[in-house]
């Protein structure tokens, strides 16, 4: 068995989610190859070659792959992937965008967002917003799978010494083009990789009040997240949303502030090790999943917490 892992990157830096995806590949067992498709992504290929457990890196460097457009990258992955037993990608917006297109080109069903590997052909994944866990078996010749990063501890980024091989294939479908992007800037840790996450909900009342959460987060070295209610109300940008339709996090500590705890929000954070809820409504559903609950006005509790922590 040989497994192809699609590297997640921005042409400059290898994203940490790749290490979790390689961890899933290690559990499946077999040779692990990593594909770096991009433009001017030499540093990423070098970083991928150092990942513990990786035996080969395929570097497809071409202008057509610069922005990971699925119309161009999927044919490349499908072509290379025919020789592999498994194709894995992180369940990031990129992985989710590209991999189903690859699966359809290979005429196989995909398994989305696995959280555990039972055997080389059997995997567990959450359905119904995490309210049920399905065990799925695949008899496809090539198993196409996206990996939920929080389900697997990352492998070491150093220690490997894989060879880097250039892939000449250039697929340019010519039906799509990149126009531009607007990325939110943040100095805090990335939400999906942070050890501590502080999230605010509708109870924050306005965007300005999030400064209390930022102060607490900076004290704890935490990332700041939000519920959909806070995003829809315009308090914070939508890439901060935690939940079924936003990001899935599983930090050591998740502090939910002014969040009621709707099913869709819980789907994004209920695998956190320790959950703290601060809410003035003691009937809020969030208290049913919280390890530590504090019924209090968040505007009193948060500054006090920041001072004591």
């Amino acid at each position: 068995m040989t497994i192809l892992v699609i590297a997640e990157h921005d042409n400059k830096v290898l994203a940490p989610a790749t290490l979790n995806t390689v961890a899933a590949a290690v559990k499946i067992g077999g040779d692990i190859h990593v594909l770096v498709a991009g433009q001017g992504a030499g540093a990423v290929a070098e970083a991928a070659a150092k990942i513990a457990g990786v035996s080969k890196v395929l570097s497809a460097d071409n202008a057509a792959y610069a922005h990971q457009l699925p119309e161009n990258v999927a044919p490349l992955v499908a072509e290379l992937g025919k020789g592999y037993s498994h194709i894995l990608a992180a369940a990031t917006s990129n992985g989710k965008n590209i991999l189903p297109r690859v699966a359809a080109q290979l005429d196989v069903d995909q398994i989305s967002e696995i959280i555990s590997v039972e055997s080389a052909d059997t995997f567990k994944r959450p359905i119904y917003a995490g309210n049920a866990i399905a065990t799925v078996q695949s008899n496809a010749a090539v198993k196409v799978i996206t990996v939920r990063a929080t389900g697997f501890d990352p492998v070491a980024a150093e220690g490997g010494s894989a060879s880097v091989e250039a892939v000449g294939a250039a697929h340019d479908a010519g039906i799509s083009s990149f126009v531009g992007e607007e990325l939110a800037k943040s100095d805090r840790p990335e939400l999906t990789a942070a050890k501590i996450v502080v999230s605010g909900g509708r109870g924050m009342q306005n965007g300005d009040n999030f400064k209390h959460l930022y102060a607490l987060a900076d004290k704890l070295g935490a990332a700041v997240g939000a519920s959909r209610a806070a995003v829809d109300a315009g308090f914070v940008p939508n890439d901060m949303q935690v939940g079924q339709t936003g990001k899935i996090v599983a930090p050591q500590l998740y502090i939910a502030v002014g969040i009621s705890g709707a099913i869709q929000h819980l789907a994004g954070m209920k695998d956190s090790k320790v959950i703290v809820a601060i809410n003035k409504d003691e009937e809020a559903p969030i208290f049913q999943v919280a390890d530590y609950g504090l019924v209090a006005d968040l505007f009193d509790a948060i500054p006090e917490l920041a001072a004591l922590a």
């Binding site: 989710k96 359809a104 995909q110 083009s177 501590i196 339709t245």
Partner: protein, 254 residues
């Protein structure tokens, strides 16, 4: 220009589902069913594009809505008709189909209807797969604008602003193209009573996978479905000081 919208009948998003005792699946008997929330957004976007066309003399002229599923999915198609779709197609199948099977059936409908734009939701809240739109795009050879928060048609192209992990990205796709909707694309309208009455008279065609010549065989098998591990009950603390003490000494997370 014709717009095709795919909608799915799913368990209502407010229902807390329970796993069956024999672990064969979740219990959907006597549970409220609705149109998948992302599909509602897809229907709304199609209707807005058509309304915009009427106002600005552009070209979105017809909205065809399609669902693949049991005969009861006609309810969701009628809802879409009441919201502004012109006619409906049901591909009737009692089986639980995989995303690839659904994509193949949709491809057959696309071949038949020749729409310029196909809009789907980004994922269904039951299977949480997030695959069908991308698979349909692959099978039809069209460009895909997934997780769309903005859709603008100009001439032979559609510009799609997409919600990605770090923020937003805009791509331009040649028509025909596939778009999948994210939550912030729009706020779906409610159907008015007169429109619900009118929707009953709009055409609804029923097809079968056999009639479309599509095999729905699957390479995946669900072995079992279990309830997630329950979290042990937590405690309520009385003060911030007690909370900090517990986090430091008991949970050891700060």
């Amino acid at each position: 220009m014709k717009i095709l919208v795919a909608v799915k009948r799913v368990v209502d998003y407010n229902v807390k589902v329970r796993v069956k005792a024999d672990n064969s699946g979740v219990d959907l008997a006597n549970v409220k069913m609705s149109m998948n929330p992302f599909c509602e957004i897809a229907v709304e976007e199609a209707v807005r594009l058509k309304e915009l066309s009427i106002k600005e003399g552009r070209v979105a002229t017809e909205i065809v809505v399609v669902s693949i599923g049991p005969s009861t999915a006609q309810e969701q198609l009628r809802t879409a008709l009441a919201l502004g779709a012109d006619r409906a197609i049901l591909v009737e199948s009692a089986e639980d189909l995989t995303s690839l099977a659904v994509a193949k059936l949709l491809k057959a409908v696309v071949d038949k209807e020749q729409p310029q734009l196909v809009i789907l939701g980004k994922q269904a809240i039951d299977s949480d797969n997030n695959q069908t739109g991308q698979m349909l795009a692959a099978l039809s050879g069209y460009g895909q604008g997934t997780f769309a928060s903005k859709v603008e048609i100009s001439g032979d192209n559609v510009a799609v602003t997409r919600e990605v992990d770090g923020g937003a990205q805009t791509v331009s796709l040649k028509l025909p193209a596939i778009v999948t909707t994210d939550l912030r694309l729009n706020e779906p309208r409610y159907a008015s009573l007169p429109n619900i009455m009118k929707a009953k008279k709009k055409p609804l065609e029923v097809l079968t996978p056999d009639a479309l010549g599509v095999s729905t065989a699957s390479t995946n098998k669900t072995v079992k479905v279990e309830a997630p591990a329950a979290r042990s009950a937590g405690i309520k603390v009385k003060s911030v000081a007690e909370l900090v003490e517990k986090l430091k000494n008991e949970a050891k997370v700060i």
